[in-house]
């Protein structure tokens, strides 16, 4: 293999890669924030007593989870305009990833809700709290602690999915890396650095979640 590793080229464009990473994070934060709201609503719906709610939420989750995310991204960006919904690149991607996250987070929250013992709700009802109050002050906080591990891994997974934005030319990390690769032909170095940036960010995210878990842990 007559290929001399030369990181200088990549180093010169490192600021562009960092900017790309910054955009990836922004996309992730925006989509996941909305996705969490969607996921919470769907999560509660999935365990609700109303069969209709369960079926509707279940349908949403099943459809999204069985569809490739790239297809969804292209669909929202290219096909929705046919229906009159014209979104700019970033808005379109954030909307897509939010809808996508919602489905996965719904499952996470559903499992979390199921892990809260039934007796807790009954005790709160016995005191006379309303459904809303019970869900907000008792069920949700308890569920959150149980849910943190899988929430963490889902969030990390969704962050990696921001790389799909490169498919619609949004200048996040993967897009920038591909550009540098094509312009400089420094393939190994470029992708190695891009990879390390992703792996590094995921590691930091994982550590943050573990910290959060410890912080919120109920003393025993």
């Amino acid at each position: 293999m007559d290929y001399a590793l030369n990181f200088a080229v990549v180093w010169r464009s490192f600021d562009k890669l960092l900017a790309g990473l910054g955009l990836s994070l922004l996309l992730a934060v925006g989509s996941i924030a909305i996705g969490i709201v969607i996921g919470l609503v769907l999560g509660f719906a999935l365990v609700s007593r109303s069969g209709t709610a369960r079926r509707l939420a279940g349908g949403y989750v099943t459809v999204i989870r069985n569809t490739p995310i790239l297809l969804l991204v292209l669909f929202v960006y290219f096909a929705l305009p046919d229906l009159g919904v014209q979104l700019g690149g970033i808005e379109s991607f954030v909307a897509t990833l939010a809808v996508y996250s919602g489905a996965y987070l719904a499952e996470v929250f559903r499992a979390g809700l199921l892990s809260v013992p039934k007796g807790v709700r009954e005790a709160a009802q016995a005191i006379g709290m309303s459904r809303m109050q019970i869900n907000a002050s008792i069920i949700a906080p308890l569920m959150l602690r149980n849910v943190l591990p899988s929430l963490g891994s889902t969030v990390i997974s969704l962050f990696k999915d921001t790389s799909l934005a490169a498919a619609i030319a949004i200048p996040e990390l993967t897009f920038e890396a591909r550009k540098i690769n094509v312009e400089s032909f420094r393939v190994v170095e470029t992708w190695l650095v891009a990879s390390l940036l992703y792996v590094g960010t995921c590691t930091v995210l994982a550590a943050l979640f573990r910290r959060l878990e410890r912080r919120l842990a109920i003393p025993r």
Partner: protein, 222 residues
């Protein structure tokens, strides 16, 4: 929308061969990635569970690196970088290789988790009747691990089908790319994307059903 269902069906019929070929490529690329990835993944899982400390560290480094990298990056890196390493691979092979590597890291974790979940007493009971380690692995450990591995592995298989769409980005003529080409010709974005979505959904749903069937068949009575 300025076209009707009949117009779409007509265009779909015209495009039936490339779309069918695209579907074929999707299925084949996913299947190859799953098979190669699973074989590799079992090795990874075994190394992580029973390997010596240096081997475990090496394999752990490998899986952590792969799992921390987006699949698209793996696909692009494989496509662009392998040529420079002197390995001449077409986009299909490069893409499938990337998917297989991705699959192996997931399968490795699944296998490791399942093997470590088996109570130590099982190995002790097997030792007590004089079984060697390979006999223990084949007759006692793997059958029990399989029951835990199977559902999650089926999930991974479905993930591979979805990940195969990324091959379209490096020019492999899968279902997604074939649909995009049909759209470029006919401008019927919505129906072709919906149709592709329907096909992907059906495949994955089928995989899920198959998984539940296998789970039922291998269920231990209790």
């Amino acid at each position: 929308m300025d076209f009707s269902l009949t117009q779409f069906l007509h265009e779909l019929w015209i495009a039936r061969v490339p779309i069918a070929q695209g579907l074929g490529i999707t299925v084949v690329s996913a299947a190859l990635a799953i098979v190669v990835g699973t074989v590799l993944g079992i090795g990874v899982g075994l190394a992580l569970t029973y390997g010596a400390a240096p081997l475990r560290a090496l394999v752990r480094g490998y899986t952590d690196f792969i799992r921390g990298t987006p699949v698209l990056v793996l696909v692009l890196a494989s496509y662009y970088a392998l040529g420079t390493a002197g390995i001449q691979l077409g986009p299909f092979q490069a893409g499938v290789l990337a998917l297989a590597v991705f699959c192996s890291s997931h399968v490795g974790e699944i296998v490791r988790g399942a093997l470590q979940a088996i109570p130590k007493g099982q190995i002790e009971a097997a030792k007590a009747i004089g079984l060697t380690f390979s006999q223990t692995f084949v007759s006692v450990l793997m059958p029990q691990a399989m029951r835990q591995i199977l559902p999650t592995w089926v999930n991974t298989a479905a993930e591979m089908v979805k990940a195969s769409t990324l091959l379209s980005i490096i020019g492999v003529g899968d279902l997604l790319l074939a649909s995009q080409e049909a759209i470029a010709r006919t401008f019927m974005s919505l129906p072709f994307y919906l149709f592709a979505g329907l096909l992907y959904f059906t495949i994955n749903f089928g995989i899920e059903r198959f998984g539940r069937f296998v789970e039922r068949k291998t269920h231990i009575p209790s």
